[in-house]
C-alpha cells in the first residue's frame, strides 16, 4: 500500500530527517510537538503539526494513546517513530498496527526479542552467532567458578549478576588473583544488591565498537550497508562515528557484515536495524546487541553508500521489495559524524542551556548538518542535549578528518556552550588520526584531550573580538547598545 501521509512521532533533527525524505517521495508529513518545543523547526516546517500539550515526557512524546489519536485525526496512514522515545517499544508498535496504521519499523515480535538482552543472546547462540565467552549460571561454588574462569581464559571480568555502576566488578589477569577477586566481587555484590551471584566473562582489552547497518524487506531480502565504527564514546554515549571502520581488513569487514545478515535473516527481520559487535584486537568479534530502529549515526552510511535509508524504511513499510541488491551496495570514500552536544566537556560534560543567538552554516562540499534548532531558539533542560550532527564525507579518511575539523569551526552555536572544540581535539589526536580507536579512548586520553592553553596571540584575538562586539557597559551598570549593526555596517570596504 502506498503511504500518503506519515506522522513522525519524534522531535528535533530526526523528525526533520524523516520529513526530508518523505518530501522527496511526495509524501505528506504531520509532526507533533510538546508546547515547549513549539518554536523549533520540527513544529514549523511540516505540512501539518499537532500539539501534544505540555507536561512530562509521559504526557507528550511518550504518550502512546495521544500519538495514535493524533495520527488518526491527521488521517496519517503510517507512523515513523524516529530513534529513542517509542521507537523500540513493543506495546506502541502493536497499538499502532491494531489501530490500522502502518508502523515504519520492525514487527513487535522482533522488538520484544531484541529488547530482551538474555533471551536474544540465547536465540542467537542457536544460529551460531559468536557471543562473549562467559559463565552466567547458578553454580556459584568458588572452585567451580575458578575452573570456569580458567576455561574462558585470561583476562576475565567478574561481575555482579544484579550489577551496575561498576560495583562488584573485577578484572583478573592471572590465576593468583582469581580467588580473592571472586570473593571480593561477591561480598561487594552482596552489600550493594543483596545478592552475591556473579558472572564471569572474557575481558576484551581495547575493544572496538563496530556495528552493521541492516535493511530487510518482507520478500526475504536481507541486506547490509556495511559497518560503522562507533568506539569514541563518553559515558557509553557515542560522540564520533565513521565508516568505513579504519584498520579493518576487507576479509574481516565482510565476515562481520555477513554475520549481521545471518541475524536479520535468522529472525526474519523487517526494516532498518543495527547489530552491534565488540571487536577484539585479535580480530575476534562478539554480538553485543541489536537495535531495532534507525540509528542516530545512520547518515555516515548514507554518505558512503549513496543510499537513502529512510526511503528504504518507507518502501519496506509499504510492502515493496528493496530496489537494490547486495552487490549494488558499495562503500565509497569516508564519512565521519560528530555529535554536537550542549555541554561543557571540560567541566565533566556538564549540560549547558540557553538561547542560541546564531547557528553557523557549513560551507564545504559534501558536508551535512542535521540540526533541530534555529537561530533564536532555546536549549532547555527537558530533552537530550544533542544539538546537531555534523556529517562530513571525504575521498579519504585524512580528508574527511580535516574537513570535519574545518566544519566544526564553522558550525558554531553562538550563546550555548558546546563540545565542538573537544570534538576537534579528538579528531586531531594522533591515535584517532592513525585509526587506533577503542571504547576507552576518552578516559585513556583524558589529559591529552584537555583544552590547549590559549597562546598570547589567541588571547589578543579574543580580546579584539570582544572589544568590537556591539554592546558595552557604562558606569551605572546598564547595557547600552552602541551601534545597531543592521543600520550601521561599519568599515565595509571590500
Amino acid at each position: 500500500m502506498k503511504i500518503k501521509k506519515i506522522l513522525v512521532a519524534n522531535r528535533g533533527e530526526i523528525a526533520l530527517r524523516v520529513l526530508k525524505t518523505a518530501k522527496e517521495m511526495g509524501i505528506r508529513v504531520a509532526t507533533v510537538y510538546a508546547e515547549d518545543d513549539k518554536n523549533l523547526p520540527h513544529a514549523l516546517f511540516a505540512d501539518e503539526s499537532y500539539s501534544l500539550g505540555s507536561g512530562t515526557l509521559q504526557d507528550t512524546y511518550l504518550n502512546k494513546l495521544k500519538l495514535i489519536e493524533t495520527a488518526k485525526k491527521a488521517n496519517a496512514d503510517a507512523i515513523h517513530p524516529g530513534y529513542g522515545f517509542l521507537s523500540e517499544n513493543t506495546e506502541f508498535a502493536s497499538m499502532v498496527e491494531s489501530a490500522g496504521i502502518i508502523f515504519i519499523g520492525p514487527t513487535p515480535e522482533s522488538i520484544t526479542l531484541m529488547g530482551d538482552k538474555i533471551g536474544s543472546k540465547k536465540a542467537l547462540e542457536k544460529i551460531n552467532i559468536p557471543m562473549i565467552p562467559g559463565y552466567h549460571g547458578d553454580n556459584q561454588e568458588l572452585s567451580f567458578l575458578c575452573s570456569k574462569a580458567k576455561e574462558i581464559g585470561y583476562p576475565v571480568l567478574i561481575k555482579a549478576s544484579a550489577g551496575g555502576g561498576g560495583k562488584g566488578m573485577r578484572i583478573v589477569h592471572q590465576d593468583s588473583e582469581l580467588e580473592e577477586a571472586i570473593s571480593g566481587a561477591k561480598s561487594e555484590a552482596l552489600k550493594a544488591f543483596s545478592n552475591d551471584k556473579v558472572l564471569i566473562e572474557k575481558y576484551v582489552v581495547n575493544p572496538r565498537h563496530i556495528e552493521v547497518q541492516l535493511m530487510s524487506d518482507t520478500h526475504g531480502n536481507h541486506l547490509h550497508f556495511f559497518e560503522r565504527e562507533c568506539s569514541i564514546q563518553r559515558r557509553y554515549q557515542k560522540i564520533v562515528e565513521e565508516t568505513p571502520a579504519p584498520n579493518l581488513t576487507q576479509e574481516l569487514r565482510l565476515k562481520i557484515c555477513e554475520t549481521a545478515v545471518q541475524i536479520s535473516s535468522g529472525i526474519n527481520y523487517r526494516g532498518a536495524g543495527t547489530v552491534e559487535f565488540i571487536l577484539s584486537p585479535d580480530g575476534k568479534f562478539y554480538f553485543l546487541e541489536m537495535n531495532t530502529r534507525l540509528q542516530v549515526e545512520h547518515p555516515v552510511t548514507e554518505m558512503v553508500t549513496g543510499h537513502d535509508l529512510v526511503k528504504y524504511q518507507i518502501l519496506v513499510a509499504e510492502g515493496e521489495k528493496l530496489p537494490v541488491k547486495q552487490s549494488d551496495i558499495k562503500q565509497k570514500g569516508q564519512a565521519i559524524e560528530c555529535r554536537i552536544y550542549a555541554e561543557d566537556p571540560d567541566q565533566n560534560f556538564m549540560p549547558s542551556i540557553g538561547k542560541i543567538d546564531r547557528i553557523g552554516t557549513p560551507t564545504l562540499r559534501d558536508v551535512r548538518l542535521d540540526c533541530g534548532f534555529l537561530d533564536g531558539t532555546e536549549v532547555g533542560v527537558n530533552y537530550d542535549p544533542m544539538l546537531a550532527k555534523l556529517v562530513v564525507w571525504g575521498e579519504t579518511r585524512e580528508i574527511a578528518i580535516s574537513k570535519s575539523i574545518h566544519s566544526l569551526d564553522e558550525v558554531l552555536f553562538l550563546g550555548v556552550k558546546t563540545n565542538r572544540d573537544y570534538l576537534k581535539r579528538i579528531l586531531a589526536h594522533k591515535d584517532f588520526v592513525s585509526g587506533f580507536t577503542h571504547t576507552h579512548f576518552i578516559p585513556d586520553h583524558k589529559t591529552e584531550l584537555e583544552p590547549r592553553v590559549h597562546s598570547d596571540q589567541d588571547l589578543a584575538d579574543l580580546i579584539a573580538a570582544l572589544s568590537f562586539s556591539g554592546t558595552t557597559k557604562v558606569s551605572n551598570g546598564s547595557t547600552e547598545v552602541l551601534k545597531n549593526p543592521w543600520t550601521e555596517l561599519i568599515g565595509f570596504r571590500n
Binding site: G415, D461, K473, N476
Partner: protein
C-alpha cells in the same frame, strides 16, 4: 590606558588599550597588537591583523560574560570593568552547580543570613539543590525569579558581610 579582561575566569591585563572607530590596539605581555574591523553582521565579525579571520561574540549573560569565538578558538570573557561596577565583587557570588530551573526563593534581598543558610532552591536533573550562603551577611542581590532557567556556573545570588 590599562585595561583588564577576564578570559575563562583568568585576568588578562593589556596596556595602552585604544578603541577608535573600527580599530583596536593594545600591548599584551610586551607585544603590540593592532586589529581592524572589516565587517560586522550582528554577532559575526571579520577582523584583520595582517591576515583576516572570523570571530563572533554572543550577547552577555547575566554575569556579564560573552561567548567569544575567534580564529577557531573559543572562550568565555568580559572586560573586567563591567563586572566590578555592577556588584562590587566578582567572586562573592553563589553559583549554580549545573543548569536548572529556579524552584523556590527562600529569602528576600536585604535580609540577614548565616553561613550555610539556604537562600534559594534550584531544580536540576530532577533533584532539588539548596543554594546556601557562603558567609554571614546581607543578601545584596538575587538575580533570577522563580521558574527561570539558569545556566550552570552562573551567579544566582550575592551575599556581603
Amino acid at each position: 590606558m590599562e585595561k583588564i579582561f577576564l578570559i575563562n575566569g583568568q585576568e588578562v591585563k593589556v596596556q595602552e588599550f585604544s578603541h577608535k572607530g573600527d580599530s583596536v590596539s593594545f600591548i599584551l605581555n610586551g607585544k603590540k597588537h593592532f586589529y581592524m574591523l572589516i565587517s560586522k553582521d550582528q554577532e559575526f565579525l571579520i577582523l584583520d591583523n595582517g591576515g583576516r579571520f572570523r570571530a563572533a561574540v554572543s550577547s552577555p549573560n547575566r554575569d556579564g560574560d560573552s561567548m567569544i569565538f575567534s580564529n577557531g578558538r573559543e572562550a568565555l570573557g568580559s572586560a573586567q570593568g563591567k563586572k566590578i561596577k555592577k556588584s562590587g565583587a566578582v567572586s562573592g557570588g553563589l553559583k549554580s552547580p549545573m543548569p536548572g530551573k529556579i524552584f523556590k526563593i527562600l529569602k528576600d534581598v536585604g535580609s540577614q543570613v548565616k553561613k550555610g543558610e539556604p537562600i534559594l532552591i534550584l531544580e536540576a536533573m530532577k533533584m532539588e539543590h539548596s543554594i546556601r550562603s557562603d558567609k554571614d551577611g546581607t543578601i545584596q542581590e538575587i538575580r533570577y525569579k522563580v521558574g527561570e532557567l539558569v545556566q550552570g556556573g552562573v551567579t544566582l545570588a550575592e551575599v556581603q558581610e
